[in-house]
């Protein structure tokens, strides 16, 4: 596959690994924000090949993991309604809610359908005019343009039995939250490549300046990640703190203007609770007033018991890189992908799942 396979070349990867070790004169701690990047790093064992020169801390780049518990419960409640169909990306089906997950809701008779694209959900709405089709709109800035288009199309085509359960989150506020948190050890960032394909990297420039951290927009294949890490390390060694772009084949500084415009038409920023982390101001998206009728929370106002989270799960600490998954006392014992206590163990992009599926043993000294 072109533009993928050549970035998996292990000769180039090994050369980059050597160059990183040669370039660093001291250990550095970096954070990759995107779950997709975490996944590749752990599965390929790249973190092990870079240790101890480079310590990789995993960020909250898993939208499945940070979707608020209350919204999961809401999705489950909607799925169980006879007058509704809940459409979702496959990832979301096994994320634990307060007492069950969407897969169990389906087993109990709820109409839950896995779709690949929000346009597929719109098609389901078209074919089922007697029920409301709710699409669980989870994701970062990468996915917002797709969801925005689905809403625009629904409005244009008069498909009124369509709604979004909006759980969009934004990356820059999360990076700031990590940078200002006490005890932050992260010295450089790999910014998420596809978020930046949409957004560009302008909004990361003030962060690099103010917090004096190098930020490199990075792709997802092993060679991309290693090249991005090398670029961060070079900046750190040279005392620079700029935004650079490793993922040149897909990302430009201004990003995708057309996509940004449509998102701005349909959505506006709002405060958003990140599961395990808490509310981060102006870190989410919600439907603007002219499109509020497509908001599932307006169509199906939330009722019922308040959400209750596992007291054992340390997702918040893991998602902000304060604790490594293998350091959680429940890792691999009470919490596994088949019986997860929290989202990061069940999402295939969650850091806990990445560690578990890569066979990393529990740490000697738990957190």
């Amino acid at each position: 596959m072109r533009f993928i396979d050549e970035y998996r070349d292990d000769r180039i990867a090994r050369a980059l690994i050597e160059e990183i070790h040669r370039t660093a004169t001291r250990p550095w701690t970096l954070m990759e924000v995107c779950g997709g990047q975490t996944h590749t790093l752990i599965r390929q064992g790249i973190d092990e090949l870079l240790a101890p020169t480079i310590t990789l801390v995993h960020g909250p780049g898993c939208p499945v993991c940070v979707t608020p518990l209350a919204l999961i419960d809401e999705a489950i409640a909607i799925a169980k309604r006879p007058d509704a169909i809940l459409c979702s990306f496959g990832d979301m089906l096994r994320v634990p809610g307060s007492s069950e997950d969407l897969l169990m809701a389906r087993a109990a008779g709820g109409d839950v359908r896995v779709v690949y694209s929000p346009l597929d959900a719109l098609e389901v709405a078209r074919r089922n005019p007697d029920r409301t089709v709710v699409f669980f709109a989870v994701g970062f800035e990468t996915t917002a343009p797709a969801n925005a288009m689905a809403v625009l199309q629904a409005a244009r085509l008069g498909i009124e039995n369509f709604a979004l359960l909006v759980a969009h989150v934004l990356v820059p506020p999360a990076i700031v939250a990590i940078l200002v948190s006490p005890g932050n050890r992260v010295q450089g960032f790999l910014a998420p490549g596809h978020v930046c394909a949409v957004q560009g990297w302008r909004e990361y420039e003030p962060l690099a300046r103010e917090y004096r951290v190098p930020i490199v927009v990075t792709g997802f294949e092993p060679v991309d990640l290693l090249e991005g890490i090398l670029m961060v390390v070079r900046q750190l060694e040279e005392g620079r703190h700029e935004v650079e772009n490793q993922y040149v084949r897909a990302v430009r500084r201004d990003g995708n203007r057309a996509a940004q415009a449509v998102v701005a038409e349909v959505f506006e920023t709002c405060d958003r609770a990140w599961r395990g982390i808490g509310v981060i101001p102006k870190s989410g998206l919600r439907l603007r007033a002219p499109y509020r009728r497509f908001d599932a929370e307006v169509r199906f106002p939330r009722e019922g018991a308040p959400a209750s989270e596992s007291e054992i799960c340390m997702a918040g600490a893991v998602l902000t890189g304060r604790v490594r998954p293998d350091q959680c006392p429940a890792y691999g014992t009470r919490c596994t992908p088949s019986s997860p206590l929290g989202a990061p163990m069940v999402s295939s992009e969650g850091a806990c799942a990445a560690y578990f599926l890569a066979g990393r043993p529990p740490a000697e000294v738990p957190a």
Binding site: D10, V114, Y116, I312, S338, S348, L357
Partner: protein, 350 residues
């Protein structure tokens, strides 16, 4: 202890639990259901052959060794690129027999038809079954037909059983893998699962994808004639990864496979990339794993490749001493475990 957080653990099965879709995925949940619920009760009836959990049972009847197997086919949709449920049902049972070294001879078929199923569809399925029997050299000699109410059968379900004869000098079984053995995969993986998914609602794509369903009898004969094969298992749901784990578990050995050696057709790989699926966990219908004595590995590989069903065969790894586990070596030289699939592998977004 925490209160108010009563997460229902699907595994193990607490009282009041019900069957989940994941129990049919061919992975850990399926194994758990079989080993902890079904076998302990059903094993009371017989010879301990059931607990062996081979692809087919091999039992002695007088002078002959009979291989006997059964399989249920519930694939949805019933028609998918390259094939349909009828062909699958015949090849699946033929292959289960072949995996024990048997020459498949006779099949039975039970059809469970949903009210409202177009007769034309039924005709197509049954025609495919007849054609598949001819191709595999087996005879369909008995059957049964039932009809259930609309909504109870996804169109139709097919259950086939089969018998065959195992030559005296053939000894195959999942428990026979030994340290030092080499692991062979008979062809490119994940083709079937991807072909089926290509039609399932919500995940549609077109392209040159076809199910790999085919009888493996000729391939097995060629391999057995070329050298010492210890175990054979056809990879169905749960993918190659599940088969490797099952073999490792049954034989009490460890295995290591090279990620870059595992054959996958380019469009199948592309589909897996797009959907975020790992081809090692995606279903197959015409691929088997063979565990071969090391001195015969090259000969068995060459023999496999001379047969159409084995054209894409490859040696992918080896068996080691140690507690049962399967490891995957990446092209970077790092290793990670190839775990048993827990539930269903769902396409992901990110």
């Amino acid at each position: 202890m925490t209160e108010g957080f009563a997460l229902q653990c699907p595994v193990p099965l607490p009282p009041g639990a019900s069957v989940l879709l994941g129990h049919g995925s061919g992975g850990k949940l399926t194994q758990q259901l079989i080993r902890e619920v079904l076998v302990p009760i059903l094993d009371e009836t017989g010879s301990s052959e059931l607990a062996r959990l081979g692809d087919a049972a091999v039992v002695r009847v007088g002078d002959v060794r009979l291989a006997f197997t059964t399989d249920a086919f519930v694939v949805t949709p019933a028609f998918f690129p390259g094939s349909n449920i009828g062909e699958l049902a015949v090849n699946g049972t033929v292959n289960d027999l072949a995996m024990m070294g048997a020459r498949p001879l006779f099949l039975s078929a039970a059809l469970i038809l949903e009210e409202g199923l177009p007769l034309e569809d039924l005709g197509l399925v049954v025609t495919a079954m007849a054609e598949a029997c001819r191709r595999a050299g087996v005879q369909l000699v008995t059957g049964d037909t039932k009809v259930v109410e609309r909504g109870s059968a996804d169109g139709l379900f097919v259950i086939t059983s089969g018998v065959g004869l195992v030559p005296e000098d053939v000894e195959l079984g999942p428990e026979r893998a030994r340290p030092g053995d080499r692991i062979l995969v008979s062809g490119p993986v994940a083709s079937h699962g991807v072909a089926v998914m290509s039609r399932r609602a919500g995940i549609t794509f077109e392209g040159e994808l076809a199910s790999d369903t085919q009888p493996l009898t000729e391939l097995v004969e060629a391999m057995l004639a070329a050298g010492e094969v210890h175990a054979l298992r056809d990879a169905t749901r749960g993918g190659i990864a599940s088969v490797l784990n099952e073999l490792a578990e049954a034989s009490g050995v460890a295995m290591v496979v090279e990620e870059s050696e595992i054959p996958v057709l380019p469009p199948v790989r592309a589909a897996c990339e797009m959907l975020g699926l790992d081809p090692l966990y995606v279903a197959n219908e015409g691929v088997c794993v063979a565990v071969v004595a090391p001195e015969d590995a090259e000969a068995v590989l060459a023999a496999a490749r001379r047969v159409p069903a084995g054209a894409g065969a490859a040696l992918v790894g080896e068996v080691l001493e140690g507690p049962p586990k399967v490891s995957l070596r990446t092209s970077l030289g790092t290793t990670r475990p190839l775990l048993m699939l827990a539930g269903d592998q769902l396409p992901r977004i990110c």
